[in-house]
Symmetry: C2
Subunit: 147 residues, 2 copies
C-alpha cells in the first residue's frame, strides 16, 4: 500500500466515470449501502430478507475454515437460525475496494438475562448487479464475549 499512499485517489472506477464512459458497477456507495442493509437485517431481518442480498450462486463461509454454503437455498438455511433470536447488530468499520468490502461489526445475541457478543470481520464480493456473490466471516471462539 505504500506506493498508493503516495498517490491517493488512484481509483480506477472514479477515473472511468470522470471520463464519461460506463461507470464501474456497483459503485462504492452501492456497496456501502448493501453492507449497511446487511447489518440492519442481521439485527432485525428474517432469513428471507437476508437471502435477497445474495446472488443465486453465492457462497457463504462463516466462519472461514467451516462449511461453505453454496446457493440461495443453503444460504437461507444458514441464516434461518436468526429468525427467532433477539439480537442487536452494529457496523464498526467498513472498507470498500474494487468490487469488494471488508467490515468489522458487533453482533449481540440476547437470551433472557444472558448476552453474548461476537465481533467478526466479514469480507464480501459483489457482482455487477450489486448482489453479494461471496461472503467470508473471520472470527473464532476467541472473539465471542459473554456479557
Amino acid at each position: 500500500m505504500m506506493r498508493a499512499v503516495k498517490r491517493p485517489g488512484v481509483k480506477s472506477g472514479n477515473k472511468r466515470a470522470r471520463h464519461g464512459s460506463v461507470p464501474v458497477m456497483p459503485s462504492p456507495e452501492q456497496i456501502a449501502d448493501t453492507v449497511n442493509r446487511y447489518i440492519s437485517l442481521v439485527a432485525k431481518g428474517s432469513a428471507d430478507d437476508l437471502v435477497e442480498l445474495f446472488a443465486d450462486d453465492a457462497t457463504v463461509e462463516d466462519p472461514v475454515g467451516g462449511k461453505v454454503h453454496i446457493g440461495r437455498q443453503a444460504i437461507r438455511g444458514f441464516y434461518s437460525a436468526v429468525d427467532n433470536v433477539e439480537r442487536e447488530c452494529e457496523l464498526v468499520t467498513l472498507r470498500v475496494a474494487g468490487h469488494e468490502a471488508a467490515f468489522q461489526f458487533r453482533l449481540t445475541v440476547i437470551a433472557g438475562d444472558h448476552r453474548m457478543m461476537i465481533e467478526p470481520i466479514d469480507v464480501m464480493a459483489f457482482g455487477d448487479d450489486g448482489k453479494v456473490t461471496a461472503m467470508k466471516a473471520y472470527w473464532s471462539a476467541d472473539n465471542v464475549t459473554q456479557l
Copy 2:
C-alpha cells in the same frame, strides 16, 4: 454465524489436536505471530524482510481492485517503496479463522512535518508451512487521513 454463536468453541483444528492426530498447521498462534511480524516489518523492516513472509507463488492485491502482484519478485518490488520511508504501524484488530486472517491496522507515513495515516483491513491466507499465500488489502482514498 448465528448457529456457531450458540455452540462456541467448534474449532475442528483444536478437536483434531486433542484426539492425538496431526494438528492442523499453521496453528492460530502461528498465524497471529506472522501477522504481528508483518505489522512490525511494515513499520521497521525492509522489502527483503517482508518478502520472506510470503510463499514463492504468493499473490498480493493492494488495494483490492488494483494490480495483483504475483510471486516473490513482484512482491519484493511492491514493498520496495517502504525502504526509504519513515513510518509507524500498529495492529488494531486481528481475527484468525481456518488458515486465514483478517486484520485492521494503522499505518502512518512521515515526511518531515507531514503525516499521512491509512487504516486498511487486510486479509491473508496461509499455506501449511505458515507462509502467506495470498494477501488482499481493503482500503481506498476515503481511508487516508492527512494529519
